[in-house]
């Protein structure tokens, strides 16, 4: 296997809020190879987006800070770079697609100008004319109809799906090595979601970038990702190939997530939610953060006192559960019978 293009090691990110310090990412490690799609899955507030913003060096200023760890992009540790060097890397080596395309584009700039801006930020030789030609090419690539005239339009003249296509065009404008897509389809109509995912696939083919796909939708993960990392309360609790995770989930939380998915084959059965609520940032349980909601806990002291490290389940398949051996057999979140 090739060397990873992005290697995150023991990333710990703190947020300072009025109600105290939050550990948004806690000892997060993962690798990303070129052309690979890594799904980053978890509930809201589990640290997915903060992981992405840490990589981009875009944590909210004065609030977020990488406290520990390394973010190695092509041999360079991004956490050690000056703000200027980091700016040079953003948008050139790392592209990003945000969640809500209707608010992520500047309303008073034409889409073309916003694409050109991404090019010009990293190449002083980009003229308006050459930039616009390239912008039209990029808009064509992401499937915007009539790109020659669309390039001169403003975001409000685009539909939601087209805006997200434009965002993808901006993200891949400089042939990035890493493409981060943060909930790229969440704000879109279901019918548009599949199209945007197709565009993301095309963008990955075009750039051969490693893609970090942040989502809470396991369906999208199953469809798009090669590997998955499941996050809970700022930690990666399980990671492996998509096949590993869906066939052989080895963390009670992953099992719970899968059980809460609606399946066509289970029509009529009730969905099985995970009991309780995800912990809030300032109030993360000790030991394994999942233990208060975990059906395997059964008052065992280890779960309360010891943070479980990631342990190998199989080749490239890791789970952070003290009792992962019990997971497959337990029938943790058995679905209720058909009614």
């Amino acid at each position: 296997m090739s060397d990873p293009v992005l290697s995150v090691r023991n990333l710990t990110t703190h947020l300072t809020t009025p109600s105290g310090r939050i550990t948004a990412c806690d000892d997060v490690s993962f690798d990303l190879r070129s052309g690979e799609v890594l799904g980053l899955v978890g509930e809201s507030g589990s640290g997915k987006t903060m992981t992405a913003l840490s990589v981009l060096g875009l944590l909210p200023s004065g609030v977020g800070r990488v406290a520990r760890g390394e973010i190695i992009l092509d041999g360079t540790d991004l956490t050690k770079l000056s703000r200027r060097r980091l700016r040079e890397i953003r948008g050139r080596d790392v592209g990003v697609v945000f969640q809500d395309p209707s608010s992520s584009l500047n309303p008073v700039m034409t889409v073309g100008d916003q694409v050109v801006e991404a090019l010009a930020a990293h190449d002083a030789d980009v003229s308006n004319a050459s930039g616009m030609r390239r912008a039209v090419e990029l808009l064509t690539l992401v499937g915007i109809p009539d790109p020659g005239s669309r390039v001169a339009q403003y975001p409000h003249e685009y539909s939601g799906g087209m805006r997200q296509r434009a965002m993808i065009a901006i993200a891949i404008a400089n042939q990035p090595k890493v493409l981060i897509a943060d909930e790229p389809t969440t704000a879109l109509d279901v019918t548009i979601q599949a199209q945007v995912l197709d565009v993301l696939r095309a963008a990955r083919r075009e750039t051969n970038a490693g893609v970090i796909l942040i989502t809470h939708d396991l369906g999208i993960v199953a469809e798009m990702a090669d590997r998955v990392a499941v996050m809970y309360a700022g930690r990666i609790v399980e990671t492996g190939t998509v096949r590993d995770l869906f066939r052989n989930p080895s963390h009670p939380y992953t099992v719970g997530l899968l059980a809460s998915l609606p399946l066509l084959s289970d029509m009529g059965a009730r969905l099985q939610p995970i009991a309780g609520v995800p912990p809030s940032g300032t109030d993360i349980p000790t030991g394994c953060p999942f233990h208060p909601r975990c059906p395997l806990w059964r008052e065992r002291i280890d779960c309360v006192e010891v943070k479980p490290p990631l342990r190998a389940v199989g080749d490239g398949h890791f789970s952070a559960c003290h009792f992962l051996e019990e997971v497959p057999a337990a029938g943790l979140f058995a679905r209720e019978g058909r009614t």
Partner: protein
């Protein structure tokens, strides 16, 4: 196309002006009988009747109103009871002084208010921001007559080349103190509004997008933050301009500034109906026209706004 739309919108304002004319006309007449002020206290009743007939005040009020409107459409607002001169002429005579004061004070307010608001927002949460907010709060709370008196006591008295009052056309030393009196309130409003607008835009997703593209911070600030943040500030500035054109009553009185504001006060006190009517009507027109200009400016700076349903 913008001009045609502009004209169309002005036509829509005719009912507004009609209502304003009725209201002003009625209210001035509620203040009492002008002849009581124009003649000595011991003047005989015949003299009063004669004067009232001469001023047209003996006719039924609706006849007076139609006379007045007939004149307005010909650009004639009637003759001042006091000065025996066309009312419009008297008002226009005072206009340059008011304009001068308006331009200078607004200029000061913009030059100070905009940067201060922007800096406070960009440095939000720091002592600079807190200081700006505090000073703006005080500035907005301070009554004009008080700032004016402070200016007189501390500046005019000590700085020999600044007069305590009076007016000379286009004379900086004369306009400076009245303008500085008017400015703090406007500075405070503009700075506060600019600050909150910039702060709002700074948190928008598209600003994060610009940073994610690797755009230089200066360009992010100028092009993505300020460009968007200053659009709503235009409205506030427009409102200030409208208010200024009606004359700054207190400042003009404090500094003996011969502008429209002072004229309005004396005319009301003297029941000089034609002059009051002319001032109110013209101020209303100015206010409305400025609002229209603001709307047009919006369409120029914000592509999302399409007032006139232009063809795409």
């Amino acid at each position: 196309m913008i001009l045609a739309g502009f004209a169309r919108r002005l036509l829509q304002l005719i009912p507004v002006f009609f209502v304003i004319s009725v209201v002003t006309f009625a209210i001035t007449r509620l203040t009492g009988d002008p002849s009581a002020l124009l003649l000595p206290l011991d003047a005989p009743q015949e003299a009063r009747d004669l004067l009232r007939a001469d001023l047209g005040l003996d006719e039924p009020i609706w006849v007076q109103y139609f006379r007045f409107m007939e004149g307005v459409f010909q650009g004639d607002f009637g003759t001042s009871f006091r000065y025996r001169q066309p009312a419009l002429e008297i008002v226009l005579e005072r206009l340059p002084a008011t304009l001068e004061l308006a331009v200078v004070s607004l200029g000061i307010a913009l030059i100070v208010g905009l940067p201060v608001g922007i800096i406070a927002a960009l440095r939000h949460g720091t002592w600079i921001d807190n200081a700006v907010q505090f000073v703006a709060f005080v500035g907005q709370a301070m009554p004009t007559f008080y700032t004016g008196l402070l200016g007189l006591v501390f500046i005019a008295v000590n700085v020999s080349w600044i007069p305590v009052g009076g007016y000379e056309p286009r004379s900086l030393r004369h306009v400076l103190l009245p303008a500085l009196t008017l400015a703090p309130f406007m500075i405070a409003i503009i700075a506060r509004f600019t600050r909150s607008s910039v702060l709002d835009v700074m948190g928008r997703d598209y600003v994060r997008t610009a940073r994610a593209k690797g755009v230089r911070e200066r360009r992010v600030t100028m092009l993505h933050i300020l460009r968007n943040a200053l659009i709503p500030v235009i409205t506030i500035i427009g409102l200030q301009v409208g208010a200024l054109l009606g004359g700054a009553v207190i400042t003009e009185v404090v500094f003996g500034w011969p502008g429209i504001g002072r004229l309005a006060v004396t005319s009301v006190l003297q029941r000089d109906f034609p002059v009051v009517q002319a001032i109110v009507m013209l101020t209303a027109v100015a206010f409305v026209v400025i609002n229209q200009i603001v709307d047009v400016l919006y369409t120029l700076v914000d592509p999302r706004i399409d007032l006139y349903g232009r063809e795409r």
